[in-house]
Amino acid sequence: MADVNPQTQDHVPFEEQGLRGRLSRYRELRLTQEELAVVLLTPVMLFLLAVSFYPIIDTFWASFHTGYVIQLPTQTTEFVGLENYARLFSSGSFWNALGVTLFYTFVSVPIELVFGLGLALLLQKDFKGRYFAQVAILFPWALPTVINAKIWAWMLNPNYGVISDILVRIGILGEPFAFLSNPDIALYSMTSITIWKTSSFMALIMLAGLSSIPDHLYESARMDGASRWRQFRDITLPLLKPTILVALIFRTLPAFQAFGLPFGLTGGGPGEATTTLVLYTQQAAYNNPGPTNGGFALGSAAATVITLIALVIALVYVGTLYEPEVR
């Protein structure tokens, strides 16, 4: 647009400036856009490489080798092919944990999405006290997962739980109920708790998506006599699709990695009724070390499986919901 000072023009070729020109340019920190981008991005990329990407590759490598066990830190490792995976896939606990995790994830996330959309539609318009309502409704999101687990463990206590107390008072239950120690119910209880905790987060994301839909679309729809439901189905939902994609990825991946909730709520029990994949993996790696029944080798194999499933989930979401923008 405006004329740029020739001194700072970015496309002056280096060669024309000569080595001396280039050095003085660096001394004065007069970098081109590309040089500045390299300077600014290198620390982040190196950091991610060291703390995010290297560990993933190392886990992958470790999953094909014998274990490195906490009690025997100097133990050497040797290549064993798919042996760790064979042990993993022949373990009933692994398949149980996979089932628990898939149920927990794919029951809670769609319900959260529906609740979140409903909440967002409710909170969409301005009203008195909206700020306080939003703070109150968003608060469960900010609760630390494991502390939330402790709170609900107390509220669902088999003898003195307030949830039992309320249900007894209104006549639904005759006596306190063991929501967490009943093996048929514990997973439902845990799933309900996460729906309670995260629906507000969904609402927040949906609210941002709703506010980006231009009002004039609704106005013209109203003039054409479209019902509320038609407006919702033909305007709101299609335009909300990218937002739903973001919300689904944001929620599915953390739900799939649930750890703090089962740890603090039930410890994975009763039996293994609420043992999620990450809890199983953590226990295999740290609580049952030993060359045969666990250790880091088995833990690494399980972690690699978790990574692969997480990436498949992300790919499927992007593949089915992403539509390149029409320009």
Partner: protein, 313 residues
């Protein structure tokens, strides 16, 4: 249904009644939802203020005082309010130390992510360079990687470094042993918040700076960063809350009680069935005070940060 009939036969009173009813229903549902969201915290507060013996009764008492009527109104005490659980929690467990550890770790994480996130976010949103899309995709891809897959190698690394000079930087029971992984895990979100914010700034900001003879680095430090305080606050708050709440790494890396963060400290308070609920509820409420303050003071920023780029991308 009947609504439509009513508006057709315009009867003023009916319309007004319907309006009041609708308002009542709207505020009623808002209050019900807000109460459902806050009830667990309220219940923790109530439980923590009860005398320990009052916790283990059924049915439970809700309020310390009740109004009874026998000819006249009387206020009846149901249970005495007491801070005993708080005293005992602070006596038996280093709750203050846990909170301080959490604060140090969360602040350190927020500082690293704000600095590095602002740098990368600026480059990705306002500079032209080759391979921009691949770089952005690599950063976002890092956000998809499960935490558990990064845990075991980093733990092994920390063990291997024990006893070496590096062990004081990255190791078990070192604050940086948590800060560095947390900062890396939240980096994609920090970068995303910054690039969404920088994208909205007008181009004229940089042009004016360049015209005045500033270098690109000068433009970044003298013009862009000073106007991006809101984005910094947003990123810092979100990252802080994440780091404050994290559990898996904190449990694994902090094996000394004096280095544990508040989430680990509380999670390890006792078994499921014989838990000392009096001191747990007191400690839980103490751990929530900073979060409650954060939510009330910074709700707008938090909402902005969580929804950065939603609906625009």
């Amino acid at each position: 249904m009947s609504v439509i009939d009513r508006t057709r036969s315009v009867e003023l009173e009916d319309v007004a009644l319907w309006d009041i009813g609708r308002k009542f229903g709207f505020y009623g549902s808002i209050i019900a939802i807000a109460l459902a969201s806050m009830f667990p915290v309220i219940w923790i507060l109530i439980s923590s203020l009860k005398p320990p013996a009052e916790l283990f009764v059924f049915p439970q008492e809700y309020l310390p005082y009740a109004v009874s009527f026998d000819g006249g109104f009387h206020i009846v005490e149901q249970y005495p309010l007491t801070l005993e659980n708080y005293h005992r929690a602070l006596q038996q467990r280093p709750v203050g130390t846990y909170l301080m550890n959490s604060f140090i770790v969360a602040s350190g994480t927020a500082i690293i992510d704000v600095i590095l996130g602002a740098m990368a976010g600026y480059a990705l949103s306002r500079l032209r360079f080759r391979f921009k899309l691949p770089v952005l995709l690599v950063i976002l891809f890092a956000a998809l990687l499960p935490f558990i897959s990064r845990l075991i190698p980093l733990y092994r690394l920390a063990i291997d470094l024990q006893g070496t000079p590096f062990g004081t930087v990255f190791g078990l029971n070192q604050y940086l042993g948590l800060i560095l992984p947390y900062a890396a895990f939240q980096m994609p979100f920090a970068v995303w918040i910054f690039q969404a914010y920088f994208k909205e700034l007008p181009d004229s900001l940089e042009e004016a700076g360049l015209m005045d003879g500033l270098t690109r680095v000068g433009v970044l430090f003298r013009i862009i960063l000073p106007v991006s305080m809101p984005a910094m606050a947003t990123a810092a708050i979100i990252v802080f809350i994440y780091a404050w709440n994290e559990f898996l790494f904190a449990l694994t890396f902090m094996t000394q009680d004096s280095k544990r963060t508040i989430t680990v400290g509380i999670a390890l308070f006792g078994g499921q069935f014989n838990s000392p609920w009096g001191i747990i509820t007191a400690a839980v409420f103490m751990s929530l005070i900073p979060l409650l303050l954060f939510m009330f003071l910074f709700q707008k920023r938090i909402v902005e940060g969580l929804t950065a780029g939603v609906g625009k991308a």
